[in-house]
């Protein structure tokens, strides 16, 4: 399986997506700086303490990587069907279920890792920045750090699975645009914040959506041996 995943990464030049993720991280950092430094923005996004800061950061990262995952899905899975290169792939002496599972795993692992790393990178950068220009007056406690870290890991796990939901829409007609549009919808659901309240903070929501994502993955793999490739 690891070998199949490596081949997938080679095939789709994963390095270009790593650069894209780095770019996204930089953009998120700049956004976070504007939110916390610009006086007008501070009225819209009240960043009073670290908890506010990390919540807003997490929402941004989540939205970014849900759409990012859809781009990966489109490229690694949907495009393969569209260009019919799946014909070639399915004529190899390798279990088709494994082939598709490898593709999805690449995406899950990528989103999971990138999610955590971006959160950490931007969080730490702002913390360092805070030492020079005081944005947040309160000190960062160790318990706060641990609490945030657990939250990030859990939310990364949920996001990496729930970002597979657009695959269901995309596979209907093997449409790249449908995949990406539906990812915006998913992002809208899990990222909306109304006066500090976030749908994602109700534990049942991310859990059930992650399960839904896993189900989508399962159903896209289940019949792959019996289905015709036209």
């Amino acid at each position: 399986m690891l070998k199949l995943m490596k081949l997938e990464m080679r095939k789709f030049r994963i390095s270009s997506y790593i650069y894209a993720a780095l770019l996204a991280t930089a953009v998120i950092f700049i956004l976070m700086c504007t939110f916390s430094l610009n006086a007008e923005m501070r009225e819209v996004f009240p960043i009073m303490n670290y908890e506010n800061l990390f919540t807003i950061l997490d929402v941004l990262v989540r939205g970014t990587y849900i759409v990012f995952a859809a781009v990966l899905l489109a490229r690694i899975v949907i495009e393969e069907y569209r260009s019919k290169s799946i014909n070639v792939l399915f004529m190899y002496p390798i279990n088709r279920k494994k082939l598709i599972a490898a593709k999805l795993l690449v995406i899950i692992v990528f989103v999971f890792l990138a999610y955590i790393l971006t959160n950490l990178a931007v969080g730490i950068s702002i913390y360092i920045l805070n030492q020079f220009i005081s944005i947040i007056p309160e000190p960062l406690t160790l318990s706060m750090v641990f609490k945030t870290l657990t939250k990030i890991v859990m939310s990364a796990l949920a996001t990496s699975f729930l970002s597979l939901i657009p695959l269901y829409v995309g596979m209907r007609k093997h449409s790249v645009s449908a995949t990406i549009v539906s990812s915006f919808l998913v992002a809208a659901i899990v990222c909306q914040t109304v006066e500090g309240f976030n749908l994602f903070s109700i534990v049942a929501v991310p859990v059930s959506m992650a399960l839904l994502g896993a189900a989508v993955a399962y159903f896209s793999i289940r019949n792959v041996e019996r289905d015709d490739v036209l």
């Binding site: 095939k11 014909n87 004529m91 190899y92 490739v229």
Partner: protein, 307 residues
């Protein structure tokens, strides 16, 4: 006799309409087997069923003596395939595409890539991304990919599409060589009769999803005899002269100004002399070998369809 591929009553229906119905193929080991038929005859569907891309609705497929099921992955590793258009990962180079193929096939012979590229005359361009290739070059690369792992069975669906005449000749020789030297069984489909005639040992003719005939080339050679075709404004007179003065009996008037002489026992010069002496006007004389085309068309017509 060992058969590499056998199908029994192979049938595939799409929405209740049979694209392939009750096809029985018997492909012997080490032969070149031509699958011939007009567009939409079901050739590609048969080939897709042999490679597990499409599942039959009825019937059985046996490859290398084993029944093909949706889980027969190990059998796929012993085949090299070209189905429809050449498909590659366009952003990758030709070499990278072939390397990936080797990895997926579990074939680790570093030399084979260079060899395959040499065989299809693509040396020197392997570093270019495939999206910059012409159709002919992609088709060459496609063939390289199919033969790369030295498979026991090659399934080639219209492999010469997009190739120039020189390329077609080149590949004809290549397929013959692969068959002779490596003992590779080749199943090749085409709608170009003249091509298949030159390389196939056995030919199967398909139309509208049905297998009309499966015959060996030897048999066809006997069926398609030689004849001389005369073009003359006075066919009646020519026929009279041929029958009564030259004692030829196997004559057929095939058109307003055409006449054919089958199994002509006398040299063509004698024939011409005889006709000219009896003042038969001649516009043209052609010696023709009954081509596979005639035979093919007669099978298609005999099958109740209008060609």
């Amino acid at each position: 006799m060992t058969y590499t591929v056998r199908t029994k009553q192979l049938t595939r229906a799409y929405n209740g309409k049979e694209a392939v119905s009750n096809v029985n193929l018997n492909i012997r080991q080490g032969e070149i087997y031509g699958l011939l038929g007009p567009n939409g005859a079901g050739k590609t569907t048969v080939m897709k069923m042999l490679t597990n891309l499409v599942k039959p609705t009825a019937g059985e497929i046996e490859i290398f003596g084993k029944k093909l099921t949706p889980h027969s992955y190990h059998l796929l590793g012993r085949m090299g395939t070209i189905i429809e258009n050449p498909i590659f990962y366009e952003r990758l180079t030709a070499r990278e595409n072939l390397e990936l193929h080797c990895e997926y096939m579990g074939y680790y012979n570093k030399q084979s890539i260079a060899e395959a590229l040499e065989l299809v005359s693509l040396k020197g361009v392997e570093g270019k991304p495939v999206k910059d290739f012409s159709l002919g070059m992609k088709q060459r690369l496609n063939i390289a990919r199919a033969i790369l792992t030295k498979p026991e069975l090659l399934i080639l669906d219209e492999p010469i599409n997009g190739l120039d005449p020189v390329g077609i000749k080149e590949f004809r020789d290549l397929f013959k060589m692969l068959c002779k030297q490596y003992g590779i069984t080749i199943l090749i489909s085409t709608h170009i009769l003249a091509e298949i005639e030159l390389i196939a040992d056995t030919i199967a003719v398909m139309n509208e999803g049905k297998l009309l005939q499966e015959v060996s080339m030897e048999h066809i050679a006997q069926q398609t005899a030689e004849y001389i075709e005369l073009t003359t404004p006075s066919t009646q007179k020519a026929a009279y002269v041929l029958e009564n003065y030259l004692n030829l009996t196997n004559i057929r008037i095939t058109g307003e100004a055409e006449l054919r002489i089958y199994d002509c026992p006398i040299p063509q010069s004698e024939l011409m002399k005889g006709l000219v002496l009896h003042e038969v006007e001649l516009e043209a004389v052609h010696q023709k070998k009954g081509s596979l085309e005639d035979y093919f068309l007669s099978i298609l017509n005999g099958g109740g369809t209008i060609a």
